[in-house]
Symmetry: C2
Subunit: 424 residues, 2 copies
Amino acid sequence: MARIVMKFGGTSVADIGRIRNVARHVKREVDAGHEVAVVVSAMAGKTNELVGWVHEASKAEGSNVNIYDAREYDAVVASGEQVTSGLLALVLQSIGVDARSWHGWQIPIRTDNAHGAARILDIDGTELVRRFGLGQVAVIAGFQGIGPDNRVATLGRGGSDTSAVAIAAAVKADRCDIYTDVDGVYTTDPRIEPKARRMARISFEEMLEMASLGAKVLQVRSVELAMVHKVRTFVRSSFEDPDAPGMGDFLNPPGTLICDEDEIVEQQVVTGIAYAKDEAQISLRRVADRPGVAGGIFGPLAEANINVDMIVQNISEDGKSTDMTFTVPSGDVAKALAVLDRVRQTVGFDVVQHDEGMSKISVIGIGMRSHAGVAATAFKALAEKSINIRAITTSEIKISILIDGPYTELAVRTLHSVYGLDKQ
Amino acid sequence: MARIVMKFGGTSVADIGRIRNVARHVKREVDAGHEVAVVVSAMAGKTNELVGWVHEASKAEGSNVNIYDAREYDAVVASGEQVTSGLLALVLQSIGVDARSWHGWQIPIRTDNAHGAARILDIDGTELVRRFGLGQVAVIAGFQGIGPDNRVATLGRGGSDTSAVAIAAAVKADRCDIYTDVDGVYTTDPRIEPKARRMARISFEEMLEMASLGAKVLQVRSVELAMVHKVRTFVRSSFEDPDAPGMGDFLNPPGTLICDEDEIVEQQVVTGIAYAKDEAQISLRRVADRPGVAGGIFGPLAEANINVDMIVQNISEDGKSTDMTFTVPSGDVAKALAVLDRVRQTVGFDVVQHDEGMSKISVIGIGMRSHAGVAATAFKALAEKSINIRAITTSEIKISILIDGPYTELAVRTLHSVYGLDKQ
């Protein structure tokens, strides 16, 4: 007997038929004797509908400005998950599984006051655990808790993954199963490289890089939380037949286990290749070479909510100043250029160049820490395919390379192959 | 300066455009210096959507049986009002009115444990009143509170009227304005009698009879509550231009005031004619004339949730037993006959006859208590039009007459005229 938290996303609960399928997954685990909590998202499309209304409601007539009270946003938008939790509880009851729904404020899941993007501070798991003992399944509305102001606070988009991991930590669950529309984490995107393989295991650190680099399987924050609390997290498919052979295998369910690196016996040097399209490269020439310059540039960009990613700094041609290159999402280029134009005088730089349509390819692997030459292999492989490298950044467990967008697929396949990821 | 509770139903908040119109009504009262709480229903259609999902979810596969956990029903269905309250708060903020939304559990509005049809036990108005003092409008999700089990409890369909009156009582509001899709209470249905006049005032007792007899303006329970707590309640239109002349008139806004009879200076003998179509008459012949017989018949009907209305008992033709006649909604006839068939042997009666397509016409007026001959006037007027009377019941302030359905409109117009209701 084990304690399991199961999380189902919006497409998995899109209508009552799918909720019925979810209930069969839950019943399977209950029938196996496990204690189960389920965390659910809003039915697919519902959150967008609610957010749309909030935007419409908060627009002053005739105006395009859209400033709204995040507390009201939360009060409205959190209702989506509340509906799903009640419906799943009803479906479970209809197939003979004792279940009840829980809203964030009932447990309670306490958050900070950052409405719309709140962080979970504390979860009181006492009552949930007591009811596990009575054989009752807890069906919990994801994405939300209650703030210090006694109002509903949401965790930001995709926050149900975070809810699930946090609840798993609070009730000391043996594992947290994230059911999604893919059946695990792959060595790279299978739509680009059909030879991509599903990983049996991946370390928290690697998954963190994969998640933040565009392998949209799990919310970054949920992986961070899983890492901190060492919550063993499975990514698995909600669309498979709940009663197919092996689905109830406690030790090795079909999917990818995200776990502590100690649990991964045979470390690969490289575990996966991630990519992010639609990056733009902005270069500032002849930036004054004095302390505080970087802050003068990136501070205002951050305040404008522009997500600056790779940053590379070189000495300028003239030898007296520096060149600075960084990437932002293509959609933010206009906004970024406006900010730069505003600070140009105070900070002091000459020319601003920008190139859109770039892609960032990342090679990830915890084994890199102890293996030299991983970067060199990538550079050589890309060069052989005549793929031009525009910028490079590295961390302990990843190498990110900026290239021209049209070469994305070729680069992903090349790197996937050169590190042997297409072989068992 | 006064304290006002304003309530808006589902059609008044059906989309953001209409919510914007509601906000203008609220702003008008705020600008006049009043303290305002607003109670809102779910957007039109939303409650039905949610209830539909609950029914779908709670049906065991392949079964037609629909038994569901009313606590989950409440958790799901109450979300409709929560959404509207947040959206109205946002719209109010967008036009410069300080406002915040309140869910039932936040105030709290404490109810009993009868989920799906809960009764309000207590409302703590302290925080609402404190915020009135700060100039903040409270936008309250109607139709719900929190039960002793710490779960959301709904008051049953149409319960937002009841929420509004209960809140008005709790914060000692000067009046409660029920905004609806009609502009007041009429002497009868204007679709039947174009000469029907809007009443300026009607007593609680009369309104109670009007409401329960099919003048679908206000929930019966809300009128009962208003009567007990002497909450002066206006019925008025939400679709009029919020800034039309007179709309902000504190003493005499356009609409009908439901109030204590003391406030009605010139009592009419008859104030209104109500009707209910689609009644069925069921007659039991030769019912054994012994104690406990009525209980043996109407007990099982009540348990089957059949709403028995008029009950008339006569001596039978044979002089030894009784005949019993009562009405039920036409839709319940089959169910009622099945129940009667089941109890026939134990109770003892001979023949069951039934007639569908009846209508009940009611003459209502608090002045009846002190005026004789009101009933005789009705019987004579109907006889002159050759309208056959099938059954009669009376109370202190109303006379109800069962007639054949096709005569409904004629009877309503005849009675409306004979009591002079079509004259100013």
